[in-house]
Symmetry: C2
């Protein structure tokens, strides 16, 4: 099968392979070095069938198509996605964030493995704004999530390592839909708690989980403001060994804060729970909480209306992004905006006058 | 002087007068009913001088010019503002928000009057998104801030009662600059805690004050998420009579929550204080806190760099707003977007395909 992959020559070739082997090699992918060449035709109908049958190679290939910046690939990707749309939306989408060091990947490894053992099919995606800047990837490290990556019921996909955050976001949403069409029941979307990434992730998931460590509050320094108010659940992680007592206290502290904050999802009282990925404790409680959330929210119309709202918002965000992108596409524009900005900051012209210069 | 005002015939005529009398009559102003007619010329140089000498009539007239949607008025307003720019920026800008019923106007009345008695010149502006929708105004009620309105050292301006929130925001920023040029030391900007208004206000002030009532947390329901993380100070209001003990407890509770949240301003630990506008207690403590804030933050470069950042952000927001406005100016566009949106929500086309239809 591998040898028939038309996309092998493309930048996604390694990803396609890694999908088969369950490994990934984000750090060695250097998309910039690959030359664009006219891609060979992709048999969309065949790909649709294969994805629906849960072929991981085909899913990887489809994601590579989605991530490709080649014009023809883009069109093929959208046709493919359009065909698969009726089979999407059936998973529970879970966003996972946390400060660096909170142990996101070891948590996902342990939590995802538990879900697989329960008979679930689990897909893991990542939204990593740092990869846009550094070319690195939070999932780039080969040694991360090794056990989960090898699990037949899991699909671990490194984050797309090029493009703007808006682009990464778009691709992750579409990747999520592809995974759903391939029959994955649980989609875990990992993100780091910096910049706009959690707002993006919150806008594409049903349940949002925040990983923290003991010593509530202090380690939230440096995270995005209002992050706690995005969370449907907080996991006090590394609640093991000597840390168990401390973690319990931290859970109580977070419960107290959550009482004062607005719920992330109307009708759901966000809660904090302790867990250990090493001792594998608390993991099933977290899954039970998520199941209870699903049952509770599905009883109202919030589940479905939120998903529709998210899709609508995604559409409008993409309109706005496209407008801004095309406005700044003209390279002189950036220089012009910069020089107007400087005149404004020097107090020479008013902001309104500055804007008038751009839109005469 | 009054009879010479060329703008008397304009929509702002009542505001110009109310500036003189210190009253306001927002509810009776119906801007829609005024026909646009070619405005008489405004003597910008004279207006600049008068504003710099602190003439309230001239300041009112200038604000009317800023708020006018007439093309010539707009140009005159910008020329005027440009002339006055060198004299702006010397006030302390304080944003004040709170849930409905928190007593924002009685607080501003008491707090502003105290500041006037201390020899300060105080300007009160309002950003009221509800006025955009209902045509009403949070400052429209004649009976509100009656004492402060009559004070010679105060200038109370009702919120602009027409236009988009973006427009209101823009006008309020420019109104703030005019007040600074007219020598007001303290600018109080009132807003209701709904929608985007506090984010707008946070983006134009130095210090952001949140008014709450006793029973911490419960009344924050319905306020914008993350509002507490915007606040440099929290006032537990109506701390009077039987309420004093309860208010003290609430202050302690808020202090605890603030400990867990990120500071609104780097280098400043946000705090909570009790106050009563009826018994006039705690008001001077709040002013002392704000002065301490100013001293602390001015020692770093955050004061100035934040103001520059705010102006820059204002410029870029206006560019984005202009792009989106001009895109949707075509009336067919809205219909087109709506029909694409519906096709997306029905699952017929992908979001990316929908966007491609708009940007072929």
């Amino acid at each position: 099968m591998e040898r028939k992959e038309n996309l092998q020559q493309d930048k996604g070739a390694l990803n396609v392979r890694s999908g088969v082997e369950g490994g990934h090699d984000g750090l060695t992918i250097k998309p910039k070095k690959f030359k664009k060449k006219s891609p060979d035709p992709v048999n969309i109908n065949q790909l649709v069938e294969e994805i629906r049958f849960g072929h991981r190679t085909s899913l990887s290939k489809a994601i590579t198509l989605i991530e490709s910046s080649h014009h023809e690939h883009k069109e093929q990707a959208q046709r493919l996605l359009q065909e698969l749309l009726p089979y999407t939306g059936k998973s529970i989408r879970i966003g996972i964030t946390g400060v660096p060091g909170a142990g996101k990947s070891s948590f996902i490894e342990a939590f995802g493995t538990m879900l697989c053992n329960m008979g679930k099919k689990v897909a893991v995606l990542a939204i990593d704004p740092s990869s846009t800047l550094s070319g690195g990837s939070i999932l780039g490290d080969k040694t991360r999530m090794e056990e989960l990556s090898r699990n037949k019921s899991a699909f671990v996909r490194p984050s797309p390592s090029a493009g703007t955050l808006g682009g990464v976001h778009k691709k992750s949403r579409e990747t999520m839909l592809l995974c759903e069409a391939a029959g994955y029941d649980v989609i875990l979307i990992e993100t780091v708690g910096v910049g706009q990434s959690e707002t993006y992730v919150r806008g594409m998931v049903d349940f949002f989980l925040l990983l923290v460590l003991t010593g509530a509050g202090d380690e939230l320094q440096g995270m995005k403001k209002g992050i706690m108010e995005l969370a449907d659940g907080i996991v006090v992680h590394k609640s093991d060994g000597d840390n168990v007592q401390k973690a319990r206290r931290t859970v109580r502290e977070y419960m107290q804060i959550l009482h004062f904050l607005q719920p992330a999802t109307p009708g759901w009282m966000s809660r904090a729970l302790p867990a250990s990925s090493i001792e594998k404790t608390g993991l099933s409680d977290i899954w039970e909480m998520i199941c209870e959330f699903e049952q509770t929210i599905k009883r109202t119309d919030i589940w479905e209306s939120r998903r529709l709202e998210q899709t609508k918002e995604w559409f409008h965000t993409m309109i706005r992004d496209s407008l801004i992108d095309s406005f700044f596409q003209n390279s002189n524009r950036k220089i012009q905006v910069k020089s107007i900005e400087e005149a404004i900051l020097r107090g020479e012209i008013t902001v309104t006058q500055g804007v008038s210069k751009l839109f005469p």
